[in-house]
């Protein structure tokens, strides 16, 4: 099946529609809440939480024997929260730093989860098939009920976010100040963290524990490059997330043997790369262009100033001088002289140059700017 076929089938095939809707909603909620994670400098907390969720899934299966994703995700939620609070406990109460705490919880919980998963696989009566999908995600396994759950949780998160928009924003920017205004910052903090954990758990089935954090970060990191407005950033992140989800699922479904998670991550990664390079205000490309232009302008101004110094010695500013005498000054080339002429600051006749009135005024301005600084 090719990608075009996939999108054609979308209109007729009910299952495909369910899956596509699911990944779109998932991408949107991750982009939305991921923006908070990125702005709170908690990017890697998401990575730790998603890995920490694995033993919860396995334990939920071991205890209930259920394959129903609702039950398994409940387990994931619990163990994700346990991991989160243990990380906080380690950073608050010991001298270990947050990077150590994150890496430790991430790898140890994941290891425990893998221990349980391999244990389950060896059980004779376990129809363990399906737990594997939580590693790298398999969107094809999404059921209508899963998607419904996603939509409900996304709607609730959206509602909570809009309701506490003002509080979320001020806490993200300046937590201590928020406290002095009389807001219960602990409550807002726990609320945001809980929503982030919820989004992560929701995505495990589609993207998998290993790569979940990237879906949280990438849309937000890409969106941040295009706007300086928080609401637009979140909206944009939600859109990028949704598009990555849908495209990634379509690509992985059109190929054999491809988990959804890695593909969605790469699609989102392309968005990030594109944004990093081509964003007009922050992007690397335009920043470099601006930098070069500034440097060229500086050079030009320097030459002009040097000429201004020479011209000052004559009563008539437009008195012609030999180009030769500029040799003492290394900052000019034929090209830069040409540019100066194009600006109308000087005129060139053969081996002579002369300053124009316009050029004189310009040089004076630069001089004044410099001395006022």
């Amino acid at each position: 099946m090719s990608i075009t076929e996939y999108f054609n089938l979308l209109w007729t095939d009910y299952t495909l529609r369910t899956i596509t809707l699911g990944t779109a909603v998932l991408g949107a909620i991750c982009g939305m809440l991921g923006s908070f994670a990125v702005l709170r400098k908690q990017s890697l907390l998401g990575d730790a939480i998603s890995h920490a969720a694995l033993p919860g899934i396995a334990l939920a299966f071991l205890i209930t024997g259920a394959k129903d994703s609702g039950v398994l995700l409940m387990g994931a939620l619990v163990s994700g929260l346990v991991g989160t609070f243990w990380i906080r406990g380690i950073t608050n109460k010991t001298h270990l730093k947050s990077d150590t705490a994150l890496g430790l919880i991430l790898s140890v919980f994941f290891g425990f989860g893998m221990l349980l998963l391999t244990f389950i696989q060896k059980q004779p009566n376990a129809n363990q098939a399906g737990l594997d999908k939580y590693l790298f995600g398999q969107a094809a396994t999404l059921l209508e009920s899963d998607v419904l759950l996603m939509i409900i949780i996304t709607a609730i998160s959206l509602f909570v976010m809009l309701l506490f928009w003002k509080e979320f924003k001020i806490l993200l920017f300046d937590a201590e100040y928020t406290k002095t205004l009389g807001f219960n910052t602990k409550f807002i903090d726990v609320l945001i963290t809980f929503l982030i954990v919820l989004a992560i758990v929701l995505g495990l089935q589609t993207v998998g524990v290993v790569l979940m954090s990237a879906i949280l970060l990438a849309p937000a990191a890409a969106a941040r490059q295009w706007t300086n407005n928080l609401s637009i950033m979140i909206l944009l992140a939600a859109i990028i997330g949704a598009v990555s989800g849908v495209l990634g699922t379509a690509i992985s479904a059109s190929q054999n043997n491809l988990s959804t998670g890695p593909v969605i991550v790469l699609v989102a990664g392309v968005f990030v790369l594109f944004s990093f390079i081509f964003s007009p205000t922050r992007g690397i490309l335009f920043r470099e262009i601006r930098l070069r232009k500034n440097r060229a302008d500086m050079k030009l101004f320097k030459t002009l100033q040097f000429m201004y110094g020479i011209a000052l010695e004559h009563e008539n500013i437009s008195h012609p001088h030999a180009i030769r005498i500029l040799n003492n000054f290394q900052g000019y080339t034929r090209g830069s002289l040409q540019k100066l002429e194009n600006e109308g600051w000087i005129t060139i006749q053969g081996q002579q140059w002369a300053m124009t009135a316009k050029g004189y005024k310009q040089a004076q301005e630069i001089y004044n700017q410099k001395s006022s600084q």
Partner: protein, 245 residues
């Protein structure tokens, strides 16, 4: 005439992780003064302000604002935190940040409207930042960022202003502008309490001063107590040279 007391601190002891940084502080700040808190690094100046504002919980002692607990008098108090305490790359505009000053009076959930916007714009005008209202905050210079913070506090329309090093890292023009605003606040009967680093400028800028180094060394009018004796006690070395300019 009996002067009203704006801030009253009794027997305040504060500890970070149970290691005390402020010991048994008694402090009374009369209404309408422009007060500097001075002391060496690690003397607990910021901690004192943060404790008054309820950001840090003390181990012992109490703070009252116009005779009541801080939690009841929140709307009378405005705060300018240290500039370095926030992420200036946060996606928001200068006007948005100033608007945050009105969030306290709005309370939970209610959104700022036209009235709050007007308050914020007026505050920005006072600090000379109106032209930059739509600017993203990372594109402001250090001095401009500080003015935005000041405008945010002005938007709180309080009676007492607490400022944590508002002159740190600002250019000379901004410094004068900020000091003029502080003096204006005092003229209109407000109380202004500032953590300050530059001892040279204390007599020029302030009329009240508190010397702090883990314990309170002295507090009172600059004219009376800003002397070598107190400076030496606070900083531990002889400060004669530094002040007699």
């Amino acid at each position: 005439m009996e002067q009203k007391i704006a801030v009253q601190i009794d027997d305040l002891t504060v500890a970070y992780n149970y290691k005390p940084v402020l010991w048994d502080i008694d402090l009374t700040v009369p209404e309408g003064v422009l007060m500097a808190i001075v002391g060496p690094n690690g003397a607990g100046k910021s901690t004192l302000i943060k404790t008054i504002l309820g950001i840090i919980k003390p181990i012992a002692g109490s703070v009252s604002i116009y005779g009541e607990a801080y939690s009841k008098q929140r709307k009378l108090v405005a705060y300018v935190p240290q500039k370095g305490s926030v992420d200036w790359d946060f996606p928001t505009t200068a006007l948005d940040v100033v608007m945050m000053g009105t969030y306290g009076s709005l309370g939970w959930i209610r959104r700022p409207g036209q009235k709050e916007k007007k308050i914020a714009l007026e505050a920005m005008e006072k600090v000379g930042m109106l032209a930059y209202k739509a600017r993203q905050i990372s594109q402001l210079s250090g001095g401009q960022q500080q003015r935005v913070f000041l405008a945010r506090a002005l938007a709180q329309d309080a009676s007492i202003y607490f400022m944590d090093e508002p002159l740190q890292g600002v250019d000379a023009t901004t410094e004068i502008a900020i000091i003029n605003i502080l003096k204006e606040l005092r003229k209109s009967g407000k109380t202004v309490i500032v953590v300050h680093h530059d001892l040279q400028t204390v007599p020029e800028y302030f009329d009240w001063v508190t010397f702090l180094n883990v314990k309170k060394i002295a507090t009172g009018p600059v004219k009376e107590i800003f002397n070598d004796d107190n400076l030496t006690q606070t900083y531990g070395i002889n400060y004669k040279v530094a002040v007699n300019k």
